[in-house]
């Protein structure tokens, strides 16, 4: 049997923290004269705090070391509980979202997906806007912490490649991991501050700058306007966001190492090379396509392609153009870029670059082995041989991603959506990007018109994608609950 006590305890702590967080938008709304929304936030905070503290009190004390099953269960439940309780203010505020809508929006927030069901953001109360940004920001740092400290130990989808050197040493690992995590959190905070300052200097209001910085560094992509970044019509803002979207998709651990005196590792890292390479290629090809085939002036083509391609690859989901109308090749290209994602160890979603590296190296070794059956070819990652278990896990991840994608797309089409909406919606949710393709959920559309069933499917997809598939799907294995 799985001991539930420590899990409930940890979730109680999480909920109490969430309740404290809700106080911020409450204060902001109160100060700017939205009394009704302020009291909604306050009541939701009170309720969340009550549930959180009572779970802590009811299960407190004792040793709370997690074993593997408990870690899995906690990871799944933590995101689910966070989404459910953060949906409360969304459901009861002035926007009057339905349960499905509020949960969808909250899940999109904590998983740093930019899919939104709210129209009329420009006139929404500041508290709600701030709440959405806060969800993404904390969801993002939660993801980074998980990718650094938890997923490698759970050996999910090849993440064991990123085991901290000290992590194998049992109990002593904890202080070291905590130290690393606080360093990473500091860097995350600094990046956000710098981004916000830059955006403010480029002409945003202070409030917009802070919110967009939070949504950028977490690669979340919630905006304060229905037209996303297109609203600002400012090349300066777009350039700043491009830079910070890319910076936020690199492994945060490398920043920490760079700060501690080995900045070279940042540039020597294979994953970083591949990521920058993919982005550069995609932007170049897309610019050429827009310039030559769609007849846009070169500068406009470069600006639109750079911003939107970066936004899609990093899984942020900001938009400045309706890329739906860019033609067949662009639409297909963006669909594939969606699932690529950023680097492992960042807040970015998707399959992630290192998995493509591992698969490429393995496939390369395989083909060489076909040519010389008796030769010895060892695939390598960052100059170290890739263990067989990692290669298998990565390829298994890839297969599982394809299956989850197919199932989700089938489920969405069962609710009556057209093929393009189903396929791109599934890809976008699993990769935590945000906008899909097509008229309904494309960059100029909104998820609001989808049937409720589709919203639940997509919420599930976002959760599964965020937790690297295995972490959630393992809970559906009968063997998990046995013994």
């Amino acid at each position: 049997m799985i001991q539930l006590r420590p899990i409930v305890f940890a979730i109680g702590v999480l909920l109490s923290a969430l309740a404290l967080l809700m106080a911020i938008p409450a204060v902001v709304d109160w100060l700017s004269g939205y009394g009704r929304d302020a009291s909604t936030f306050a009541v939701c905070a009170g309720f969340t705090m009550f549930v959180g503290v009572s779970s802590v009190l009811a299960t407190g004390g004792g040793d709370s070391e997690f074993d593997i099953r408990q870690s899995f269960l906690f990871a799944g439940l933590a995101w689910l509980a966070a989404a459910a309780f953060s949906a409360l203010p969304l459901a009861f505020c002035n926007l009057r979202l339905s349960t499905a809508d509020a949960f969808f929006e909250a899940m999109a927030g904590v998983t740093a997906t930019a899919a939104t069901v709210i129209t009329g953001l420009d006139s929404a109360a500041p508290g709600i806007l701030l709440w959405r940004a806060l969800l993404q920001w904390f969801g993002g740092i939660g993801m980074i912490a998980m990718a650094i400290a938890v997923l490698p130990i759970l050996q999910v989808g090849g993440m064991q490649l990123f085991r901290l050197e000290a992590a194998k040493a049992g109990r002593r690992a904890l202080p070291r991991a905590a130290q690393i995590l606080s360093g990473v959190a500091l860097i995350y905070f600094v990046l956000t501050t710098v981004c916000a300052t830059a955006l403010w200097a480029a002409g945003m209001t202070g409030f917009e700058a802070v919110l967009h910085a939070m949504a950028t560094v977490s690669t979340g992509g919630f905006s304060t306007s229905d037209q996303s970044i297109a609203h600002f019509r400012s090349a300066g803002v777009e350039i700043i966001l491009i830079v910070f979207m890319i910076l936020s998709s690199l492994p945060f651990l490398l920043y920490l190492q760079a700060m501690r005196g080995s900045p070279r590792r940042l540039f020597a890292d294979g994953q970083v090379h591949w990521f920058i390479g993919i982005v550069a290629w995609a932007v170049a090809v897309m610019t050429y396509w827009l310039w030559r085939e769609c007849g846009e002036p070169f500068i406009t083509a470069l600006r639109e392609s750079a911003f939107n391609v970066v936004s899609v690859v990093t899984g942020t989901g900001f938009t400045t153009a309706n890329y739906d109308s860019w033609g067949g090749a662009a639409v297909a290209g963006l669909l594939f870029l969606m699932v690529v994602g950023g680097c492992a160890g960042s807040a970015s979603g998707g399959i992630k670059v290192f998995r493509f590296q591992v698969i490429y190296e393995t496939a390369n070794a395989q083909i060489k082995r076909l040519i010389q059956p008796s030769g010895l070819f060892v695939p390598q990652f960052n100059d170290r041989p890739i263990p067989d278990a990692v290669a298998t896990a990565v390829m298994g991840f890839f297969f599982l991603f394809a299956v989850s994608f197919a199932m989700l797309a089938l489920g969405l089409s069962l609710t009556g959506l057209d093929p393009l909406t189903s396929l791109s919606g599934a890809a976008s949710a699993l990769a935590n990007v945000g906008p899909g393709l097509g008229r309904v959920i494309g960059p100029s559309g909104s998820f609001a018109q989808l049937p409720d069933t589709a919203k639940w499917f997509l919420s599930f997809g976002m959760l599964v994608g965020r937790l690297d598939l295995y972490t959630v799907l393992v809970l559906f294995l009968p063997a998990f609950w046995r013994g």
Partner: protein, 482 residues
Amino acid sequence: MIHFRPVFFVIGILLTTLAVVMILPALVDGAAGNPDWTVFAASAALSLFIGVSLIIGNWAPHFNMDVREAFLLTTLAWLVAAGAGALPMAFSGLHLSFTDAYFEAMAGITTTGSTVIVGLDAAPPGILLWRALLQLLGGAGFMVMAIAVLPFLRVGGMQLFRMESSDRSEKALPRVAEVASGITVIYLALVAIDATALWIAGMSGFEAVCHAMTTLATGGFSTTDQSIGHFHSAAIEGITTVFMLLGGMPFVLYLQAVQGKPRQFFRNSQIRGFLGLYAAAVGTLVLWQWLSGGESLAQALRDVSFSVASIMTTTGFTTVDYQTWGGFAVVTILFLTVVGACTGSTAGGIKIYRLEVLYSTAKAQFHRIVQPHGLFVPHYGGKPIPDQVASSVMGFFFLFALTFATLSLALGASGLDFLTSLSGVATAMANVGPGLGAIIGPSGNFAGLPDSAKWFLSLGMLLGRLELYGVFVLLWPEFWRG
């Protein structure tokens, strides 16, 4: 160094065979009084000339073929066969462009069944017969390749199908030859039975033979523009469904059944998986069709069971436009397109056995995640899957996805819309036939595509037929070195 002599020698034999087969349509056209017979005769003479010169020019008493030459040979063989097959089409009364003729021949020899010809109903019998013959030969060639060549090349996990005795190379050849000829006989016998059944069900003799050939080859060329829908006959659809399914199952098992081990057939996990998936897909889609009120239950069952069999076995016959069934049906059919049928049959696609290996491996991984110290070995057909096989299957899956993405981008760049690009590549790589969308959908035709798109699709058909690795290996610099 790669020795080209044995490669060219075998290509010569292939061309000579094709030349001999070309005489059949020449005779048929001659008998029907169609002037196309001269085209066939001339093409046959040209192929024969090149073939015989290659044989004579590269003759040697002793041939030794290693892995590289085998790889080179497989790719070249299909390229050359498509080229020779295109000759009569390019010069016939249909006046196809070179691109169109090559596309049509490649769709024939890879048993894909996508067509660029409009007006099949009025086409001379020689061309129709030639298209069916190309598929018949392509199907047989593919099965022989799957049995005799691919397992030795260890392509995409095919080593799992190495025959027990084949590790000792001396004895292997006679045994492989025996199995290959047994399978060919069964293949031809099934074609004959199918043709008879179709004839009894009301087709003309010529139509019956042509359709039987393309059914068992899971090719899907028809003698009319409306494919099987033309005949408006439930009996013909039923017969074709059965024989498409038969064409999608491993022929080695038929051989074993004939040799007195019929139980093997139902114990085979690939067949179970295939029939199970087929039943599940048919059940879901019938329910969907029926509940959405589009059709009566009987009509839905008839349309769905035929269309799903046609897509899953990668045949590509059509009776109705399944795109009118709504978004769910379209997405289902898009995914079923790439799934394909069993290894060891004439069907294409990723294939059931690979999906079973992937499923089994993924399951073992899940268990390992829950119990990191437990020992979980993935099994296939009651036997443990060697690590090598699992990783080549997964590598295949990845290459398939990567090729799929690249080719659909290329199609998009030649100006096609999203659904046409995606489904066109899927249908080409899985050797199915029709795609989705207004242009290449079940009621459409590939004639309207730009030339560049036709070349990309031809490449996709070849890649799919040679299980990707067969072609990709040639692109590695290491292949040509040392």
